[in-house]
């Protein structure tokens, strides 16, 4: 009798509380063909090759990628000979550094995002202030707080350290480089006042020659980053197992909590609305009301990014791009106005997210739990009339999920961590030698 009453009660509860309906384990792992087709679109195996890059003729050149890799790990390309790209994008940490603010020569304003999958993004940096990976790669090089060298120094050093590789790829260098004896260092259109004065003292031909070498560095770094691929994560194996109807294997790859999390992620929690596709990102800009890292100097996000893009010297439309104007439509039809730009930050990939804390553009959250708590009860964006051009857009709604739901989603996110590769020449994990001075 009691049993019956309990089962009736359960039935009533099930009817009354569909949101808290507890999945029986067998049901939990039951996915229909339509489910599997839908989920397959998140499988890393469906990522395809990086988008065409008409603005970089060396984008898919393997020698350029080799050269780019050498540059990526070369600490000599910094003011104190200690900072390489890999200093903040560490292969062992999925090309992040685990810091809220990266440490180069100084400290950066925002955190270093992973570069895995970045070749698929039309916009670079958290605010999308660059429209190509080659243009992006150059900015930290001459940023006083990152590599801290001037453009002229970088160009000179690259020719000095890599004369053969450079000339093999980009042709004769003698006629195309300035007479270095005539150049006062540092010289750069960005950076210190001295650097700027010295840059302005150079004639246009010399500036152009230096820019050519500099942008070729960027194009090689881009070619390298396009070579990076992600090994399948448990989630990808799970989808493949489902497709092959290997239920036992599927169950080994993802726990019931992770499956509940997966179902929430795609459905009730709405995460997949922006975190979709094999990289779990739509490559767009949103304001999710993350606490302002510095209320004295607010992050205007995409609003600022767009303004910087319009003045950028190395866009797809610039003379250093290899694309025709017609191939630069993202720049030609750049959206420059709209309240949704204010404070909007690029949706990051969720691949390896559990292994790449802290979170958000300035490491505002240390743990995934904090991130999920924020989404569950988001605070509206900070607004300061003096600093913001308009009230920031607010792109998320409270989820009002239960604690256990959030834990399940967190568990699911762990299934997106790929194993570190053992013998991927482009992603050297154990070979510490490579992070030393490159020969």
């Amino acid at each position: 009798m009691l049993r019956r009453a309990v089962s009736v009660c359960t039935l009533i509860l099930t009817i009354l509380l569909p949101g808290t309906y507890a999945w029986a384990e067998d049901d939990l792992y039951q996915f229909t063909p339509a489910d599997i087709e839908f989920l397959s679109q998140f499988n890393i195996g469906n990522l395809g090759t990086p988008p065409e890059a008409p603005d970089n003729q060396w984008a898919d050149n393997e020698e350029a990628a080799e050269f780019g890799k050498a540059l990526f790990f070369d600490r000599r390309l910094s003011k104190n000979q200690q900072v390489s790209c890999s200093h903040c994008h560490q292969p062992e940490q999925y090309f992040t550094d685990g810091l809220a603010h990266s440490q180069g020569i100084g400290q950066t304003r925002r955190s270093a995002p992973t570069i895995l999958g970045i070749a698929y993004s039309p916009w670079l940096f958290w605010d999308g202030r660059k429209d190509s990976l080659w243009a992006q790669a150059l900015a930290p090089m001459e940023h006083p707080d990152e590599h801290g060298l001037s453009r002229a120094e970088l160009a000179k050093k690259v020719l000095e350290y890599y004369p053969q590789q450079y000339s093999k790829l980009f042709g004769k260098t003698e006629s195309e480089q300035p007479d270095w004896d005539d150049v006062d260092f540092p010289a750069s259109p960005n950076g210190s006042e001295t650097a700027l004065e010295n840059w302005e003292d150079l004639d246009q031909e010399d500036q152009k020659a230096i820019n050519r070498i500099f942008t070729n560095m960027g194009k090689s770094l881009m070619a390298y980053q396009r070579m990076l691929t992600l090994p399948p994560a448990p989630f990808d194996g799970f989808i493949a197992a489902l497709k092959d109807n290997q239920m036992e294997k599927a169950k080994e790859l993802m726990s019931p909590s992770q499956i509940r999390g997966l179902r929430l992620f795609m459905g009730k929690a709405n995460c997949a609305s922006c975190h979709n596709g094999p990289l779990f990102t739509n490559h767009e800009f949103h304001n999710i009301g993350v606490p302002e890292a510095n209320t004295e100097h607010v992050d205007l996000g995409r609003y600022e990014g767009v303004n910087l893009l319009r003045e950028d010297e190395f866009t797809c439309l610039s003379p250093f791009s290899d694309a025709s104007k017609n191939e630069c439509k993202e720049m030609r039809f750049l959206k420059t106005q709209g309240p949704e730009l204010v404070g909007a930050i690029k949706t990051p990939t969720l691949r390896n997210i559990a292994a790449t804390s802290p979170y958000m553009q300035a490491g505002q959250f240390d743990t995934l739990q904090q991130v999920l708590n924020h989404y569950n009860k988001p605070s509206p964006p900070f607004y300061d009339r003096k600093q913001h051009p308009s009230r920031p857009h607010f792109d998320v709604l409270p989820l009002n999920l239960q604690e256990s739901d959030l834990q399940d989603i967190e568990a699911f996110l762990h299934s997106l961590t790929s194993p570190l590769p053992k013998d991927d020449p482009w992603w050297p994990v154990e070979d510490k030698q490579v992070t030393q001075n490159h020969p």
Binding site: K268, A272, K329, L397
Partner: protein, 352 residues
């Protein structure tokens, strides 16, 4: 207070209105009787339009079939607008009646309180009953008139479409509504939950609401609603539209590329359209300055790009470049047209 006078006033107003009412009723039924035919009646000259074309050596040259069709479309549209106006009048009238009823009711209450009732209350009650009984018929009339107006607008758009096809045949490859290309992968075309403060608080959150039910066909995963963005039922999604000031007819045509067929739009890819603009006589709107705006009403955000008119490829045919949709759902595309110093706009709804 003289309640006798109030009652008499009400009755006299009522009787006046009755006169008006019957006149309006008569007009309305007349309109309703005539509008059922107009499409056929008005389409008649078009059939002969082509015939004239061949043996017309004498001046002035006869109007082309296309421009006759456009004129017809314009006439039908004007009728629809007239009906809408009448519908508005009928609604106003119904509202007035309701106000009068409530006004009289409050007077009856006061009359009761003064205990000096008698015939006066009865008279007022009768008046109230009479007036109240007319509210619903007037509302129904307004509804019918509006429905007829909508029907006529649909017919006008059909005729306009024929006119466009006749005049701009080489440019028009697709007459139906625009939809996402199958290459875009419908299942991947996700809505996102951007839907915030500028939306009225009384509007329920469509994304969340749909999620409770919308499992998708034979799916066990709850997916967020792809298009549950409070799209009004019966939303007009024609690619042939009349401008706000009703001076311009417009048509949008997606220019197909290697991956899309006519009428298909790619997701997340910059692509081009033709915008064809005509005046209501079927003459191309030449040399207009056109600004392009697009947004998602359910999401409070615009297009991810800023499209522009890049050239007028033929009189009245404008090439729009830079259009990109980053998600499925209800999009509104608006073209702000400045022609000979007249500002007008033409708006298309797309459900992708």
């Amino acid at each position: 207070m003289n309640y006798g006078l109030i009652a008499i006033n009400s009755i006299s107003r009522l009787s006046n209105r009755r006169g008006n009412l019957s006149r309006l009723w008569l007009l309305a039924s007349l309109v309703l009787a005539t509008i059922s035919a107009p499409a056929t009646v008005l389409a008649a000259p078009t059939a002969s339009g082509e015939d004239h074309h061949h043996h017309s050596d004498k001046t002035p040259p006869p109007p082309t079939k296309g421009s006759l069709l456009m004129q017809n479309a314009s006439n039908v549209w004007q009728q629809a607008v007239a009906l809408e106006d009448q519908s508005g009048e009928a609604i106003k009238h119904a509202t007035m009646l309701r106000k009068e009823v409530s006004n009289l009711r409050s007077k009856v209450r006061k009359l009761k309180a003064s205990k000096n009732t008698g015939d006066m209350e009865k008279l007022l009650q009768e008046t109230i009953t009479q007036l109240a009984s007319q509210v619903t018929p007037w509302q129904a009339l307004a509804g019918n008139l509006r429905a007829e107006a909508d029907k006529l607008k649909g017919e006008s758009q059909q005729i306009m479409k024929q006119g466009f096809i006749s005049i701009w045949q080489p440019w028009i490859k697709h007459e139906g509504k625009l939809a996402l290309s199958s290459m875009s992968g419908e299942t991947m075309a996700m809505a996102h939950n951007v839907q915030v403060r500028s939306m009225s608080p009384s509007v329920p959150n469509p994304t969340m609401e749909k999620m409770k039910q919308d499992d998708g066909e034979s799916m066990s995963i709850n997916r967020m609603a792809m298009s549950g963005q409070s799209i009004p039922p019966g939303l007009e999604t024609s690619s042939f539209k009349v401008s706000r000031n009703q001076d311009i007819f417009g048509h949008i045509e997606a220019i197909p590329d290697d991956n899309t067929k006519p009428g298909e739009l790619p997701l997340n890819e910059i692509h081009q359209w033709y915008l064809i603009l005509s005046d209501t006589d079927g003459q191309p709107i030449h040399d207009a300055k056109v600004r392009v705006e697009g947004h998602m009403p359910g999401h409070v955000h615009g297009l991810p790009t800023q499209p522009e008119i890049v050239e007028e490829v033929s009189p009245g045919v404008y090439r729009v470049d830079g259009i990109k949709f980053q998600m499925s759902g209800w999009w509104v595309m608006q073209f702000l047209v400045n022609h000979q110093d007249e500002e007008d706009s033409i708006t298309f709804n797309l459900v992708l």
